[in-house]
């Protein structure tokens, strides 16, 4: 066995990217001079050499079957000499050296149900996570909400009529695998009920000191329950982060009645104009309402539209809110400001308004 392992090939790493680059890219690698947005979803990059590369960006739901991948491959073969890529936000990108292939490709993409867009001042696809499709922690589904929100916002994907880019992300629990903490709009699955402890399993499945230590608010302490070594949760101190559940399967938080999503706004990642910003809590809680989550789609459309109607050119959502001030934003959207909006974690004091700089 040890021998078998010795022989076995490991750690050879991913294939070298070079073999996957279309010739036009290899030739012009590092020599691109500028780009233009030809129309929604279609870019051209022009090289120092004069060569032109056309990019067509097609929507993707990210959760794709091998059937779909094969369809993409067929299109890549047909129009792109067999090359394609995916983007950092999981869209499919087709790289063409021939401009005359652009429209036929788009037509074929439409046939298999993949609109193009998401480039320039648009909304692109939603970075998201597993949800009920695969994760044990999920407080909500991921792909389902994403589908509903994007169905609703499709016009902003297919056109470029917004003041600037708007990025949406979703994570189905506070682990935030979608790294939603710096998005223009973030949808975050939340639990709202403390862990339900299975005292018969704690000792078996979990290391009690680790469990106690895992709680950011020190809500967990060792306890003997019904004669069994276990833990107890001081419910008042629990803010439902589920970190205990991550380290101890005997403490699930999932709950059909109390789980749901929260909406966060005003984050950004790029350094363009304003430094990167975290997203801020906007709607503390919306109950899960599958299959179409109408309250979520309505709330998000409202945010997008108010921003689109009022922001200056290039002004990201967070930049705009910062300019007009949060009180105005709450007023314009009609969302009620509640105690949940006020930070009470470690650096809370620094989020208090420490000046007279307000508007009336």
């Amino acid at each position: 066995m040890a021998e078998a392992m010795q022989e076995r090939r490991t750690d050879y790493g991913p294939p070298h990217y070079e073999q996957f680059l279309p010739p036009i890219i290899k030739e012009n690698y590092g020599k691109w001079k500028y780009h233009e947005l030809l129309k929604p979803g279609v870019l051209v990059h022009v090289s120092e050499s004069g060569a032109k590369l056309f990019t067509v960006r097609a929507a993707s739901g990210r959760l794709v079957s091998i059937d779909k991948i094969r369809m993409f491959c067929d299109l890549a073969d047909k129009y792109c000499d067999g090359y394609m890529r995916f983007t950092s936000r999981h869209n499919a990108e087709f790289l063409l050296s021939k401009s005359e292939n652009v429209d036929p490709l788009i037509a074929d993409l439409a046939k298999i149900g993949h609109p193009i867009g998401g480039i320039g001042n648009a909304i692109t696809s939603i970075v998201h996570t597993q949800g009920w499709v695969h994760c044990h922690s999920a407080a909500t589904d991921a792909s389902g909400i994403v589908k509903c929100v994007m169905d609703d916002l499709i016009e902003y994907f297919e056109e470029t009529k917004l003041p600037g880019k708007l990025r949406i992300a979703l994570a189905c629990c506070l682990n935030m695998c979608g790294a939603v903490h710096c998005s223009d709009i973030a949808i975050l699955g939340v639990h709202r009920r403390p862990p339900v402890i299975d005292h018969t399993k704690v000792k078996k499945m979990c290391e009690i000191p680790n469990v106690s230590a895992s709680c950011p608010t020190a809500a967990i302490r060792p306890a003997t329950v019904d004669g069994l070594p276990s833990v107890e949760v001081i419910e008042d101190r629990c803010m439902f982060c589920a970190n205990c559940y991550t380290v101890c399967p005997a403490m699930p938080l999932n709950d059909p009645v109390n789980d749901g999503v929260s909406i966060w706004v005003g984050g950004k990642v790029s350094n363009a104009r304003h430094e990167p910003m975290f997203s801020k809590l906007f709607i503390p809680y919306i109950p899960n309402n599958p299959p179409r989550w109408p309250e979520v789609t309505t709330a998000i459309r409202q945010i997008v539209e108010i921003w689109a109607a009022n922001a200056n050119k290039y002004e990201r959502l967070g930049e705009w809110i910062e300019r007009i001030g949060w009180p105005k934003f709450f007023k314009m959207t009609g969302v009620e400001f509640q105690s949940e909006h006020i930070d009470d974690f470690k650096h809370a004091g620094l989020t208090f308004k420490r000046s007279t700089h307000i508007t009336f």
Partner: protein, 399 residues
């Protein structure tokens, strides 16, 4: 008596230069007072040896008062017997630090008789500081102060002497009557001021406008800062006058506006007041042409303090706008609620700002029955650690 002054070669260096010299002041007093002379001597030794020679103070005071005197004893009483006791008396200043020569002279006379003849006009909190008094002289000083109607200020874990900018007395921007409020609160809270019963000190400071000339936002547990909520008043003719006299209105005024809400077309200024951040800059630069609006009152901000122990704080907005009119009932009710809660639940040596950060602003608001509003925060929370209110039990789950 000048020949009795100790030799102070180091301190003498501090009589040079154009800024008024405290050494000269001490020497003036020392001509009459052996306390001041011994202070000179000990201070010269401190200057030579680079260390202070005061002992950690003890508790001394005046009958019926729990504070107002800072006990101080020299660590070198044998060398400097005049300052073996050298207590400070904090005397509550009149609002705005206005005086008549008559009243000042009376204070001086008392202090000549019973103290070192040295003062601070004023202490950093605002009191008249009578610097250097023996224990047995405290009562006599108070006795005489009574006769001229000056009372003792705060010290210890109590309300500290409130102070304010000159406001309406001398300034065109005062959005409420700072001196009237200061006097009223001081009178109303005499017991809290004189008998320490709080977890720690508590300070009020009143500024008439956001220029904040008493630094209330940085130095008071409750900062009361004047503000208006309607339109800035514009005198067009005066704007033209400034422009004609050569002011570059675009770069001096418009470009410095944090609300980016002023427009200058070369002839007229217009302001989109709904974006005005009430910073005062444009008004400061063109006092003849611009004035705060007519709907005036104050903003209440809570919690500022020096760094010990949680780090320094600035006050933060508690009430964005409140009318400030006698008898100030709304304000006093709020103060009483805050104190009740803090006295009940605050820890020893925990300032109200630290208390709020410990229990959470939301929880604090809840207890004092103030609704949370977005004006209280620079922005909503960034972390997802939300203490949601009650959850629903499974039993109710019948959907």
């Amino acid at each position: 008596m000048a020949d009795q002054l100790p030799s102070t070669p180091k301190l003498d260096e501090l009589e040079k230069g154009k800024w008024p010299s405290f050494v000269t002041e001490i020497k003036m007093a020392a001509k009459r007072s052996p306390m001041a002379a011994d202070l000179l001597g000990q201070l010269e030794q401190s200057y030579r040896e680079k260390i202070g020679y005061w002992k950690h103070g003890g508790i001394v005071g005046v009958m019926g008062y729990g504070g107002g005197v800072i006990g101080r004893y020299s660590a070198l009483p044998k060398e400097y017997p005049g300052i073996s006791h050298f207590h400070t008396m904090r005397i509550n200043q009149p609002a705005g630090w206005f005086y008549t020569s008559d009243s000042l002279r009376k204070i001086c006379d008392i202090w000549e008789k019973h103290g070192s003849g040295l003062t601070n006009m004023h202490g950093s909190t605002g009191d008249i500081i009578l610097l250097g008094c023996r224990t047995e002289e405290l009562e006599p000083v108070f006795d005489e102060l009574q006769k001229i109607d000056f009372d003792i200020g705060g010290s210890g874990s109590d309300l500290r002497t409130p102070s304010c900018c000159c406001g309406m007395a001398r300034c065109e921007w005062a959005c409420y009557d700072t001196m009237a409020l200061t006097h009223d609160l001081t009178m109303h809270y005499q017991d809290e001021l004189h008998r320490p019963a709080f977890p720690y000190k508590f300070k009020f400071k009143m500024s008439g406008c956001p220029n904040d000339c008493v630094a209330s936002i940085a130095r008071s547990d409750l900062s009361i800062i004047g503000i208006w909520r309607d339109e800035i008043q514009i005198d067009k003719a005066a704007v033209t006058e400034y422009a004609e006299k050569g002011m570059d209105i675009q770069s001096d005024v418009v470009n410095n506006c944090p609300g980016k809400c002023i427009n200058w077309d070369g002839k007229e200024i217009t302001i989109d007041d709904s974006f005005c951040r009430h910073c005062m800059h444009c008004i400061n630069v063109m006092p003849k042409a611009l004035r705060p609006g007519k709907d005036r009152g104050a903003m209440l901000l809570i919690g500022s303090k020096a760094p010990i122990i949680e780090g320094a704080f600035l006050s933060s907005i508690l009430v964005p706008f409140i009318k400030i009119e006698p008898p100030y009932t709304e304000l006093k009710d709020l103060v009483d609620k805050i104190w009740d809660l803090w006295c009940e639940e605050g820890k020893n040596r925990e300032r109200v700002g630290e208390f709020i950060q410990r229990v959470g602003l939301s929880a604090f608001l809840d207890e004092i029955e103030v609704e949370p509003i977005p004006e209280m925060v620079a922005h909503p929370r960034e972390n997802p650690y939300v203490f949601y209110e009650d959850y629903e039990d499974d039993d109710e789950d019948d959907k």
